[in-house]
Symmetry: C2
Subunit: 354 residues, 2 copies
DNA sequence: GCAGGAGCAGTGAACGTTCACAGACGGCCG
DNA sequence: CGGCCGTCTGTGAACGTTCACTGCTCCTGC
């Protein structure tokens, strides 16, 4: 415990006294703002080291009006997909010497609202909100006191700040086109919640793609289930029991796709022979299942990085507001849609950037 | 923008002026500390609402010496396992009205050190560190200025604060005992880094268990690979090529186990018939692979909750320091070690809480 | 009728920084 | 040799709260 006065952290004044200079001089040294004579600087640094002094960020923020803290709000940190974004945000922030408040809302709008209030209380310098569950008005109001803001997967009318929009629609088109190219014609769509903007965008992509390749939309091939492995498994079971024949399946996310695939495999349906399956998300899991899952992949890590950079640019005015960045996905073709791929070949494909 | 003076957030003084009372009275209302007449309170609340006032937490922290913020440090947020802990921490903190700084270190000790410094700068009220990569001295020194501290999976001599220790050793004993009970005698151990404390603890468990069930330790059945799906796959390949016969395999974590299983399945080794496999971690993925993976499961979410509660108790002195909490794992028996389980039965087992 | 307490409100100082100044000192130029 | 500029350092105020007081009014009890 190199602290001077009984457990309390040393202050600028303590350092100044020890080094026989004024507060301001110490401040100058730690912020290396203005010129300080080498001799003085040396003395100050020695004092800082001796007292193990570190500036109090609260005091600093109070006067500078900047906290060097960002907020990241996600619905659920434990779902695959968000951790990867969070990692990007973390890395981007760390590099710029920012800290990150992580908050997860559990998909509960009330909790999201509470979280945003708290971030405001903490006077964070900016906020990244992923897949907000608030309705337009609430979101507008909550973020108006919270600028700048980067919204991931949510377009809000007249939002100041930047919107990062993932190509859910185009990604789904990719998936359906792939299934069509494989000669599949009866392609089912497995979603989870059409009231959800993201799921709705995918559904639009499904319809668009069908039209493009000249397949008539058949509402009986659209079904839904819970947003999980179990949900996909159960939904597939129900659908199968209905007796509808299909040779292709697109699922809204990887976990549901894997659940559906599991049902198929354990009920004598050959994948991909009889049924080709494509998931959405590009999560790690997809390369660990057998057969590995063809999936539409989003560059999640770099989305996180981009979000932070955009936020920092908004902060120092290097970027204009009202921008929209579109992120385009790619499709990772694997064993759940194309048979007889060399497994060792599969392993090297579809790796994520680090 | 209900703000009064041009974009700047309203302050206590603004509210006081508008409500025609003193700062202190407003303070009393927002902290509902002392008695305030109903009439006055009403006026103050109206003013707060009109100005959309929210207290500045920096100013508050400066004088109260509490920040209502906790720090959570993990090696990697995108690896399965940490998100679940983070979720627990988040939920526990949210309930107590605390915010959480999430920092991930990428397993880099230098970055971990930098992170801890930053948390200290931010004057967080407490820190949870998972699987610290620092050596004892560094960790001791870095945390001495950062109390209270909860250390997950790391025992440090004379650490003030609490240690949460997961039963790596006992969990591994569970796994080996299970394999032995199935009649497996040539049980291999697949690790990733024996210099790693956690991996070393598991290895001790392996040796202990062998001894308990009367199997002679055979060093040629111990091999290692990278800490990932690919690592498990490759290591299994090399081991297989060496011609060593085994009928049971324990892997240090789920991803490696799944990689090894994938290698076995794609190279004509029947799982679990010829080779029974047990992983470690209890991550979600394990129930999504085919066959689903028998795994040693840690109650990660509740560990996160526990860590926060412990921290908060240390904060208000309700818990004594130098405590060690041992978390005991359980084994989830599934298709990779026991064949012919009803798949729908499997689905309902091993689900996580929440 | 007055001491004492309860209920309510306000004042100055403090928390640990940075900011906008101002001052001291020496050297250079005209 | 006087004025001015550059380099270095110090001073008071401010940021937005809470804390420890003090002061006022009104009621109660003896």
């Amino acid at each position: 415990m190199p602290n001077a006065n009984g457990g309390q952290a040393a202050t600028l004044n303590d350092v100044a006294r020890l080094a026989n200079v004024s507060r301001q001089t110490v401040s100058r040294v730690i912020n290396n703002k203005a010129a300080v004579s080498p001799d003085t600087e040396q003395r100050v640094r020695a004092a800082i080291a001796e007292l193990d002094y570190r500036p109090n960020s609260h005091a600093r923020s109070l006067v500078t009006n900047r906290s060097l803290v960002l907020g990241l709000v996600v619905p659920s940190i434990s779902q695959p997909y968000y951790p990867e974004i969070a990692r990007g945000v973390e890395d981007g922030a760390d590099e710029a010497d920012y800290s990150v408040f992580l908050s997860h809302t559990g998909g509960d709008p009330a909790r999201e609202l509470r979280t945003l209030e708290r971030l405001r209380d903490q006077r964070v310098d900016g906020v990244i909100i992923c897949n907000s569950r608030l309705d337009d008005d609430e979101l507008m109001h909550a973020t108006s006191a919270l600028s700048p803001v980067v919204l991931v997967n949510r377009r809000v009318p007249h939002a100041s700040g930047t919107v990062i929009w993932m190509g859910y629609e185009s990604g789904t088109v990719l998936a359906i086109a792939h299934l069509n190219a494989l000669g599949r014609r009866r392609i089912a769509y497995l979603g989870y919640n059409y009231a959800n903007r993201v799921d709705a965008a995918r559904f639009r992509g499904y319809q668009t793609a069908l039209q493009q390749v000249g397949i008539r939309f058949d509402a009986s091939l659209v079904f839904r289930g819970g947003n999980s492995f179990q949900g996909g498994y159960d939904a597939m079971g129900l659908f199968h029991a209905s007796g509808n024949e299909i040779d292709g399946l697109f699922a809204s996310n990887d976990m549901m796709a894997i659940g559906a695939m599991r049902y198929a495999l354990t009920h004598g349906i050959d994948v991909p022979g009889e049924l080709a399956i494509v998931g959405f998300g590009g999560s790690d899991i997809t390369s660990m299942v057998t057969p590995d899952l063809t999936t539409v992949s989003m560059p999640l890590y770099s989305i996180g990085i981009t979000a932070v950079q955009e936020l920092l640019q908004l902060l120092n005015g290097t970027s204009e507001q009202h921008r929209q960045l579109n992120i385009e996905p790619e499709i990772l073709v694997r064993g759940s849609s194309v048979a007889n791929m060399d497994p060792s070949d599969l392993l090297t494909r579809g790796g994520k950037e680090e």
